[in-house]
């Protein structure tokens, strides 16, 4: 396979790994990003993985387009043979479903002719692949939600959705890293902070890893929230 690419002006280049959203394409992008990290090519500022592309931003006074392209083509050949993959992690996101902080749980249940408990069971029994991050700092674009609990967005978006809210929009699910307006159906809330600009690790998640929602009680929610506040909470993660 030949590397497909497009320039993004004179300071960026976009590598194209596929035409559709798939876990395989995501994996390939992840491997390439891993190689970029190891190679430390002079002049590259950063890169942004997305569903089907990896965009690389660079300084043309340090490396020119053609020279960069040659290096990227060489790296691309390397991943064609398949390289040992850096292990993906599964992050556990403790989630208190329903109640005041999950006001749309019953709507999602009714819409899909399920009980609220069934929605929770289905929603929390998947490992969701984090395809990319974006929209707002720390927001994971997740793939793999079962169609059984798919629900359209609210017709009247809420002006404020609390940070940590877990929601459903169509056949997508996600977590709000910070308070924003939004039209997602909110089914629960996590006390974990996905985004904390003051922290040493400001963003908790990264693309290419997985996320699993773990149902917790209100009491557990409060305990974890307190631990998060004191900076004592550590998120559970395991190898996929």
């Amino acid at each position: 396979m030949k590397l497909t690419y497009h320039p993004l002006g004179d300071t960026g280049i976009q590598l194209v790994f596929g035409q559709t959203i798939s876990a395989e394409t995501n994996q390939e992008i992840r491997m390439f990003a891993e190689l970029l990290k190891q190679e430390q090519i002079e002049g590259i500022i950063e890169w942004v993985p997305a569903y089907t592309t990896l965009s690389i931003f660079y300084r043309p006074d340090k490396i020119r387009y053609q020279a960069l392209l040659e290096q990227l083509e060489r790296l691309y050949e390397n991943i064609q043979g398949g390289v040992a993959d850096a292990a993906s992690l599964v992050y556990e996101i403790p989630t208190y479903y329903g109640g005041e902080t999950g006001p749309d749980l019953n709507f999602v249940a009714d819409h899909n002719r399920l009980s609220a408990d069934e929605v929770i069971r289905i929603h929390s029994s998947q490992d969701y692949l984090i395809y990319m991050m974006g929209f707002v700092p720390g927001f994971p674009y997740l793939g793999g939600m079962p169609e059984e609990i798919a629900t359209p967005r609210r017709s009247d978006p809420r002006p404020k959705i609390a940070a940590g809210s877990v929601g459903i929009a169509g056949s997508q699910t996600g977590v709000y890293p910070l308070e924003t307006p939004g039209g997602w159906q909110i089914i629960g809330q996590t006390p974990v902070r996905l985004y904390d600009p003051e922290s040493e690790q400001p963003i908790l998640l990264a693309s290419g890893h997985y996320l699993r929602f773990v149902p917790i009680s209100k009491k557990e929610y409060d305990d974890i929230a307190e631990a998060v506040r004191l900076g004592e909470y550590k998120i559970n993660s395991s190898k996929k």
């Binding site: 993004l8 942004v48 569903y51 043309p60 387009y65 990319m132 929209f135």
Partner: protein
């Protein structure tokens, strides 16, 4: 040794602290922000002996009034918004001293719309994810993640003394026009547009609308038609990316752009022309011209050379 430097008497229309942006976190969805006109900010810093990437004040259209609380050497660069000190016109693109008790004011925007104020030793600000840039939407960076407000006190980070009278050579001072030629590299989605749309884009005049800000410039002009759809699978968007939603009116993505987006992009503005775009006001007219990557990168290095030569002399 953080000392009180300025008291904000009037905040101005939109005055924020900006450096060269919060790079390195885009893969996590963190917006870059930073100075809209990175050239002017870098020059302002170098003239007062700072590192080029130090944070300065980005002043927009109607500038602030600042009372000087401590003697300092400052520089004002970028758009000419009629800066004055104690009622007298202040120099631009040149380091000069301000004294305790003096007032720094701005008047009519004469040329360009964004000025940059640097102070020797820099402003005392915390770094958030490696940058002091204000990103208003996420309320991070700069002064508590917001624009200046009345009665704010701005602090100096260190020694505010520096050589006065340092200036940028007059040949190198940019001129900001009301009709600008902006050079672009086509793509990455030029194939999503009809041939006529590409022709229209490269031969028509587009006006910057009032719905333009640090995030993006919305343009108004001949409609650009897609072959089928205006939507793509979300991907990273670069500074200067020109996205065209289904209504066919282009939007140029600027410093506060989201990291990713789902609209087709017809072209990308080259880095060397971003500062001129940053200085263009609503109502200004843009014509786009296609250039090669080689040409664009040659222009980039030319711009970079002006900055690095000054850097070698001063810092």
């Amino acid at each position: 040794m953080s000392e009180k430097l300025f008291q904000v008497i009037k905040p101005g229309l939109l005055t924020t602290f900006q450096d060269l942006g919060r790079t390195g976190y885009q893969e996590y969805g963190v917006v870059v922000a930073g100075a809209m006109d990175d050239f002017s900010l870098q020059i302002a810093n170098l003239l007062v002996g700072n590192n080029r990437d130090e944070a300065g004040l980005e002043v927009t259209m109607m500038g602030p009034t600042l009372k000087v609380l401590k003697d300092a050497v400052i520089a004002i660069t970028g758009g000419n918004l009629s800066p004055r000190v104690n009622g007298q016109p202040a120099p631009m693109w040149k380091s000069f001293a301000v004294k305790e008790g003096q007032l720094i004011e701005f008047g009519q925007p004469l040329e360009g719309i964004r000025s940059y104020i640097s102070v020797a030793g820099g402003f005392d600000l915390p770094e958030v994810m490696g940058s002091k840039s204000t990103f208003l939407k996420a309320k991070i960076g700069g002064l508590n993640g917001r624009a200046l407000e009345k009665e704010d006190i701005l602090h100096a980070a260190g020694d505010t003394h520096a050589v006065t009278g340092r200036s940028l050579h007059y040949d190198e001072i940019p001129e900001y026009q009301k009709e600008i030629h902006v050079r672009v590299i086509l793509g990455p989605h030029q194939d999503a547009f009809t041939d006529e749309a590409i022709q229209t884009f490269l031969t028509s005049a587009y006006e910057i609308t009032p719905q333009s800000d640090r995030m993006g410039y919305r343009l108004n002009g001949p409609e650009l038609t897609h072959k089928t759809t205006a939507d793509i699978i979300s991907e990273a968007i670069p500074l200067g990316g020109i996205q065209v939603p289904a209504n066919g009116q282009p939007i140029i993505l600027m410093a506060d752009r989201q990291t990713t987006g789902g609209y087709t992009r017809i072209a990308t503005v080259i880095a060397a022309d971003i500062p001129f775009l940053a200085q263009a006001a609503p109502g200004a007219v843009i014509r786009f011209e296609e250039v090669s990557i080689d040409k664009a990168q040659m222009l980039y290095r030319k711009k970079e050379k002006i900055v690095s030569v000054l850097e070698k002399i001063i810092v």
